[in-house]
């Protein structure tokens, strides 16, 4: 700690900067790093901006994973990916289980925000085995943010 104290003292001594001082090497280095960070960020944003073609609509696509049976219940995991270039809001995924031509069970899930190429995952839970009937999982609606 005593080390830091002595450094403090020196920094106080040459404190008043009424006369114009050239920038020290330390200040030059930290400025260069800062400028580099800022320009990299602006570069990335410009890359995103220019790299974008005509803005298309969001394309939320749902993929269903293998069914898992957990303590008498059937879980159907799904993944929701937005394949479009625009963010979708309030993406609604609905599931419908038809057994012998009749709707036996339904499920509904809503994802608040789905950025371009973002993937969210979740699962629908049924009490009857979906393999014994017809399972429909689809994106029902979304909102443009």
């Amino acid at each position: 700690m005593s080390d830091i104290h002595s450094d403090d003292d020196t920094s106080f001594e040459d404190e008043p900067s009424n006369h114009i001082q050239p920038r020290s090497l330390a200040e030059q280095v930290s400025f260069s790093i800062a400028a580099l960070i800022l320009f990299t960020l602006v570069g990335f944003i410009c890359y995103l901006w220019l790299g974008k073609g005509e803005p298309s609509s969001p394309k939320p696509v749902v993929t269903v994973k293998p069914i898992e049976e957990i303590s008498g219940q059937f879980q159907v995991p799904f993944e929701l990916t937005n394949q479009g270039d625009v963010t979708a809001a309030s993406v609604q995924v609905v599931a419908e289980l038809q057994i012998q031509g009749e709707i036996a069970e339904t499920g509904e899930q809503q994802v608040d925000f789905l950025s371009s190429h973002e993937t969210e995952s979740g699962a629908f839970v049924f009490s009857q085995d979906p393999r014994k009937g017809k399972l429909i999982i689809r994106v029902a609606s979304y909102k443009s943010p």
Binding site: T10, S30, I37, L38
Partner: protein
Amino acid sequence: MKRRYSRQKRATWTRELEDVIRGACGGFLFGVPLLYTMEVWWIGSTVAPPLMLLAIVTTWTVVFFLSRTEGFRRTASVSFGDAARDTVEAVAIGLVCTTLLLWILREVTLQTQLSEALGKVVFESVPFSLGVALSNQFLSSSPEENRGQSSQASDPAQAADLKPEISGTLADVGATLIGAIIIAFSIAPTDEIPMLAAATSEGWLLATIAVSLLISYGIVFEANFANKSKRQQQQGLFQSPLSETIMSYLISLIAAAMMLWFFQQLDFSDPAEMWLSYTVLLGLPATIGGAAGRLAI
């Protein structure tokens, strides 16, 4: 002669580092409440690149005018060029600190889309950059004042006195509690803590603890803020910097847990892991507030 030169050189590096750390700590103090606001994450996720650039330009302009009067450096930068350079640094410090915290809080991960990550970082960094620019203004006192206080406080007669030790400790505990409550009380009842807890894991909680301790230590001891010399001479159980940082972190954690319980985010029937993750996540803003509170006394 050569030795004197190298000593001077070292001093300028140290001063530069102190300036940057002081700026970063100011940024943390100012920026953390907005970091725990999910609406800003959403805005960041959906914002278009031109608006990101506009946000950077706006921040840069506001910070520039702040830098012309104050800025994060001890040396007042009044010339146009100096203020412009300091502004670039202030904005960059804000961006780096924001990225670090968003990374630790798992709001930005390797799986996050570039556009979403950039949007979140740019929008969350606005108050951070303002905090960097204001750090000298609200956290620094004049060096002469500091000096007077330190020579006064290092009086050996005072050290022998037991009474100030107890009252000093109590004052520190009180100040930590007040600071922690001011910053974390408005975050505790919101949905952000459960959301962040859902996204984190044990390893990241450890990282959150480490970052909380580092920022708290930085604010009170390394950043050369107001009353720092006084603090290092302060009597009481919180005497050594390390023990003060750890003690105040524990106090902030207890305060965070109590606030979460008060707002019914946590219940005694909830599992221990939930208590742990919620408390550690709210402990980050609480300990930053606590560190600021101790500076105020």
